[in-house]
């Protein structure tokens, strides 16, 4: 992306493309169709990895926020913010794809199921995180307030994950580590794991690009400030 793309960006971009291509091949050409859910089950191979990326991204917000409050290093705040933005995009997609899957399987686009409700709350929490960042008067204040929301908001992530274990729910049981009745056919599991890898690489690629943009915004602000100071000095003379 852009002329300043480093070798790491190019390698990451190329490997994301290759693994994503393999994932699509596995989903649409290789893995057998589910006997009960038919084609709608193939949504699962993107839905679950996107949920994984959303959790990973919000964990990034949590870590970035804690380290920022501790060290006051703006790079960690940048990392937290960018990770949060990507997390919001993927959480939105998780809800959308879940809803589209639910219509033919459950007969409804949406129910106030614990998993769905806690995920919607997660999206709202991190949208407010981004809004707080956007509307705070000063950068340092935005970073500080955002960090607090980023840390507190992360509490919802384990709640979303555990919601299908803690409460009665319509949502399918976890496919990995979900007890004796759960589990996947080996081809389905392999496809899912490759897709998780593809989306993890994609997250890293997006994160690097978003952080580069944030860094450029910071650089631009600094340059504008310096020029304004020069102008002010000139007029003072």
């Amino acid at each position: 992306m852009g002329k300043a793309a480093t070798l790491t960006d190019k390698l990451l971009g190329a490997s994301t493309l290759v693994v994503m291509g393999v994932t699509l091949y596995l989903i649409f050409m290789w893995v057998p169709m589910d006997a009960e859910q038919k084609d709608a089950q193939r949504i699962f191979y993107f839905h679950v990895p996107m949920a994984w990326v959303a959790f990973l991204a919000f964990f990034g917000v949590f870590v970035g926020s804690v380290v920022y409050l501790w060290k006051r290093d703006v790079a960690w705040d940048r990392f937290a913010y960018c990770s949060g933005e990507i997390g919001v995009v993927f959480t939105f997609l998780v809800l959308m794809t879940g809803s589209i899957w639910a219509k033919p399987i459950w007969g409804a686009w949406w129910t106030w199921d614990p998993r769905l409700t806690t995920t919607a709350m997660l999206l709202m929490i991190y949208i407010s995180y981004l809004l707080i960042r956007a509307y705070a008067a000063q950068d340092a204040q935005a970073a500080r307030f955002g960090a607090v929301v980023g840390i507190v908001g992360f509490v919802d992530v384990p709640i979303v994950y555990m919601s299908i274990r803690w409460w009665r729910t319509m949502h399918p049981a976890p496919v990995i580590g979900g007890g004796p009745d759960s589990g996947l056919d080996v081809t389905m599991l392999a496809t899912l794991l490759v897709s998780v890898l593809a989306f993890t690489l994609f997250y890293l690629l997006l994160l690097r690009q978003r952080m580069a943009i944030k860094k450029m915004e910071h650089e631009l602000e600094g340059m504008r400030y310096e020029l304004e100071m020069e102008d002010a000095e000139k007029w003072a003379i």
């Binding site: 992306m1 852009g2 002329k3 300043a4 859910q37 038919k38 084609d39 709608a40 193939r42 949504i43 993107f46 839905h47 996107m50 995009v89 939105f92 997609l93 959308m96 794809t97 589209i100 899957w101 219509k103 033919p104 997006l206 690009q209 978003r210 580069a212 943009i213 450029m216 915004e217 650089e219 631009l220 340059m223 504008r224 310096e226 020029l227 020069e230 003379i237």
Partner: protein, 63 residues
């Protein structure tokens, strides 16, 4: 609607949203690079003009 329609709908939404997000990132990056280059040019031009500007001078540096 058949199950295939829902599958098509889900994957279309995923790619459209991701495409819009990536396009937004690309556009922002290009705009920022343009702004930074413009400010660097301005700053360079000021640096070059600096020695010729004398305090109290009523003349433009280039005249």
């Amino acid at each position: 609607m058949g199950n295939l329609t829902y599958l098509f709908m889900a994957y279309t939404i995923i790619w459209v949203v991701l495409f819009v997000y990536i396009a937004g990132l690309y556009r922002a990056q290009r705009q920022l690079r343009r702004d930074i280059d413009a400010l660097k040019d301005l700053s360079r031009a000021r640096e070059e003009d600096k020695p010729r500007i004398q305090v109290g001078s009523r003349r433009f540096p280039s005249s």
